[in-house]
């Protein structure tokens, strides 16, 4: 469970997120929507401890990300919006690195690395530098890293944007399974079809402010029933 309480973030005078209150419950796939520049990545970076929080608090399964950061960080896995990290490492070295950091025993590590990378189709590229990977492959290696340490809470910033249909399907299945086990899955996206297929609950943010929070049914109910999700989204995020 992620609890965001009255969180505000400014970049050099410009407010990116304003008085945000949001609870991401367990056992559900939670979609975080909003137009470009709405503050999605900013929020996610605050949850993960990358950005300091100006005002308010965020806890992950009860651990405060600011004051109990190590405990909190052990609980979640994060897929950043740009997967271009550790480019000079080989895929296998990256996964080993993650394995060492999360203290994963050798036999589990081996089995998981094989299964995950095979199902994403990057097994054969494991001995190559991440620099030689395509955008989607880089995303897959980062996702594999997260799944390797099997955290309770998944935080994914546009995880599906570069994936091919098959891998996208695989990841969505994994997200469903994970939530079904009672864990937290929190992800941001622009793609409305994904939201429609996948999400149990959504939050819509625009210009740093929360516009809507509820399940899909509520979202549609709030508007005329025959409207497409696209229209709802456009209406919710239109500039007043």
């Amino acid at each position: 469970m992620i609890t965001i309480k009255n969180v505000t973030k400014e970049y050099a005078g410009k407010t990116a997120v304003k008085n945000l209150d949001l609870v991401v419950p367990d056992g559900k796939i939670f979609g975080f929507l909003g137009p470009n520049g709405a503050g999605k990545s900013t929020t996610i970076k605050m949850i993960t401890g990358i950005l300091p929080i100006d005002e308010g608090t965020i806890t992950v399964n009860g651990y405060d990300i600011a004051s109990q950061s190590i405990e909190a960080k052990k609980l979640f896995g994060y897929v950043p919006d740009s997967p271009d990290i550790f480019l000079r490492l080989k895929g296998i070295e990256y996964l080993n690195f993650i394995g060492d950091i999360f203290d994963i025993p050798k036999d589990i590590r081996k089995e998981k690395i094989e299964n995950l990378t095979k199902s994403f189709g990057i097994y054969e590229a494991l001995d190559n530098h991440i620099q030689t990977y395509s955008h989607g492959m880089r995303q897959k290696i980062v996702v594999s890293g997260v799944l390797l340490h099997d955290p309770d809470v998944w935080i994914l910033d546009e995880p599906l944007s570069g994936l091919d249909p098959k891998s996208s399907y695989t990841l969505k299945e994994m997200m469903r399974e994970h939530a079904a086990k009672g864990n937290t899955v929190f992800f941001s996206t622009h793609v409305l079809e994904v939201v429609e297929q996948l999400c149990d609950e959504v939050a819509i943010i625009n210009k740093g402010k929360l516009q809507f929070r509820g399940n899909m049914k509520e979202m549609k109910e709030q508007f005329e029933a025959d409207e497409t999700l696209e229209k709802v989204f456009l209406e919710l995020t239109s500039n007043e």
């Binding site: 993960t48 190590i70 060492d100 950091i101 050798k106 001995d127 530098h129 030689t132």
Partner: protein
């Protein structure tokens, strides 16, 4: 032409822009400038006395121009080295080139843009070395107005030929390096090869100046005008032309040599652009690709090993340094540069017999003097190593991983300090080998020196990492930016050399302190205190900066 200038401006802006620099760094520049004024005063007065002495000795036989010849030969070699590293990094290691390729530029236009940054390096180098010496020479020879005009023109023209020659050579090497499979490695290798090539070139020049022969010949040569100049500049005609231009500034003769050099320079620029048009794209495009090997099953279990977190972080740092061509050149090769240079010089001098005596000379001293000298020299070599002050900045866009992974901040930072210390170890080993094998250092001195060096290395690693953590440059698009237009190296050196330079000076002058052991004990104690202070400072910085850095 207009477009080419635009391109040059854009490329330079990306590397040298002050925008986005914190006010702290800007204040740093000002402080640095103030610090440098008295420093440069000292250097100029030293140069002045050297020029004066040499001039007065050579002038009676009409050989004073040998001084200019020496300057231009020396400059050629220095400029070749500077060109090598800056052309390599600007033309081949900087991967920003891919961003420009999709636009309709001719290779020669991109080449001109790419040449801008190296040229700035060259002019800074020759500004520091050539301008003061030429001016001093002018003063001592009572030269007229035209001399200074010529000197200025030479300052502008002279770097062109070393640059173009080196660039053409490199483009030629790289053209073939690009065929290789593991491109990152080959890229570095081609660079090293050229490095060896220049050292070889120097060796040839030095061998041709067989000391005995020179001494014999000099007596005769010195009797004829220009005799000395001819042997000094024998291998490098441009140095000869430049000297002659200045020497005969008043006569038509001088203008002839100046124009000759100008024509040659224009010619080589032309050659450079033509060669570039043919070779550059073939050398650089696709050069960023790494090797690709297939991973067959079963292999994975061999590659999986568990390590403690600290070791995992340390290995990650080392892998990144050794695999990234720019980091490898700037950090590993550069840190070996000083020691290797020392070796080359020492080995040469020792073949003439003067160094073999150095060991026994040191033995006679046996007090604190050799230790203090060695210590300050080593501190300097360790201090200029960028491994420490690029600690944080190297991470670039991967830095946020340090923030979201559950690793304590101090583990991350100290793995970086340790990395810098390990890289320093390379130069220490090399220096130690020289100390034992070539100089034949007395064992007591050697032991004292090596213990102090290990401590000093930890100290410089801490200072550099702290400075980088205080104001890192993470938003780079190219690794070059980690090292360029950041005065952090000088600040680190100022702190390290400032404190210990003062301490060494103090110890040197305390007459009651003479024994080697007392001096080393005292130095070790002071180093430990300095390390303690830096530890506290770094921990404070981790507390305040770590989470705010991104």
């Amino acid at each position: 032409m207009n477009k080419t200038f635009r391109l040059i401006r854009t490329m330079l802006k990306m590397q040298y822009s002050l925008a986005g620099k914190s006010s702290g760094e800007k204040i740093g520049y000002v402080l640095l400038a103030i610090f440098l004024i008295p420093f440069s005063g000292i250097i100029i007065s030293v140069l002045n006395s050297i020029v004066e002495t040499l001039y007065d000795q050579l002038a009676p036989s009409g050989n004073e121009n040998a001084l200019l010849g020496l300057l231009f030969v020396g400059m050629t070699i220095v400029l070749l080295f500077v060109s090598l590293s800056s052309v390599l990094s600007s033309f081949y290691f900087a991967e920003d080139i891919e961003g420009f390729i999709p636009y309709p530029f001719h290779p020669y236009q991109l080449l001109a843009g790419k040449a801008a940054a190296p040229f700035i390096n060259l002019y800074v180098t020759s500004g520091v070395l050539m301008v003061p010496i030429l001016t001093l020479y002018g003063i001592h020879s009572g030269a007229g107005f035209i001399y200074y005009i010529y000197a200025l023109l030479l300052f502008l023209i002279f770097p062109v030929i070393p640059f173009t020659m080196m660039a053409i050579l490199l483009m030629f090497f790289m053209r073939f390096a690009n065929i290789a499979k593991n491109k990152d490695r080959t890229k570095v290798f081609a660079g090293l090869l050229t490095f060896v090539f220049i050292i070889g070139f120097n060796v040839i020049i030095r061998l041709n100046q067989n000391p005995e022969q020179t001494a014999e010949g000099a007596a005769q040569l010195i009797q004829q005008q220009n005799g000395l100049l001819n042997i000094i500049t024998g291998m490098i005609p441009t140095a000869y032309f430049s000297t002659m231009a200045l020497q005969n500034a008043k006569a038509l003769n001088g203008l002839f040599f100046l124009l000759l050099l100008l024509a040659l320079s224009v010619g080589t620029i032309f050659l450079f652009l033509t060669a570039g048009q043919k070779l550059y794209f073939k050398g650089v495009l696709g050069l960023t690709a790494g090797s690709t090997k297939k991973f067959n099953s079963g292999k994975v279990s061999k590659k999986i090993k568990t390590q403690p977190v600290f070791l995992a972080l340390l290995l990650k740092e080392l892998r990144i340094i050794f695999r990234t061509p720019t980091f490898f050149m700037q950090i590993v090769v550069q840190s070996l540069f000083g020691p290797v240079f020392l070796v080359v010089i020492l080995v040469f001098e020792s073949s003439s017999g003067s160094i073999g005596a150095l060991g026994s000379m040191l033995e006679q001293f046996d007090g604190k003097a050799p230790l203090l000298l060695l210590f300050i020299l080593t501190l300097f070599i360790l201090g200029v190593n960028p491994a420490s002050y690029s600690s944080i900045s190297r991470d670039g866009r991967s830095w946020p991983a340090n923030l979201y992974l559950p690793v304590p901040a101090k583990t991350v930072i100290f793995s970086k300090v340790m990395t810098a210390w390990l890289i320093n170890l390379l130069s220490i080993i090399l220096l130690a080998a020289v100390g034992l094998a070539v100089i034949q250092m007395p064992p007591a001195l050697f032991i004292a020196w090596i213990i102090l060096t290990f401590l000093a290395s930890w100290f410089t690693s801490l200072v550099g990492t702290s400075l980088d953590l205080n104001d890192p440059k993470l938003n780079w698009t190219d690794e070059q930016e980690v090292f360029k237009s950041r005065f952090i190296s000088l600040i680190a050196l100022l702190i390290e050399m400032g404190t210990f330079g003062f301490i060494v000076l103090l110890l040197w002058n305390i007459d009651s302190l003479q024994s080697l052991w007392m001096t080393s004990l005292l130095l070790a104690l002071l180093l430990t205190i300095a390390i303690g202070i830096s530890h506290v400072a770094l921990r404070k910085l981790i507390g305040t900066k770590f989470l705010k850095t991104r």
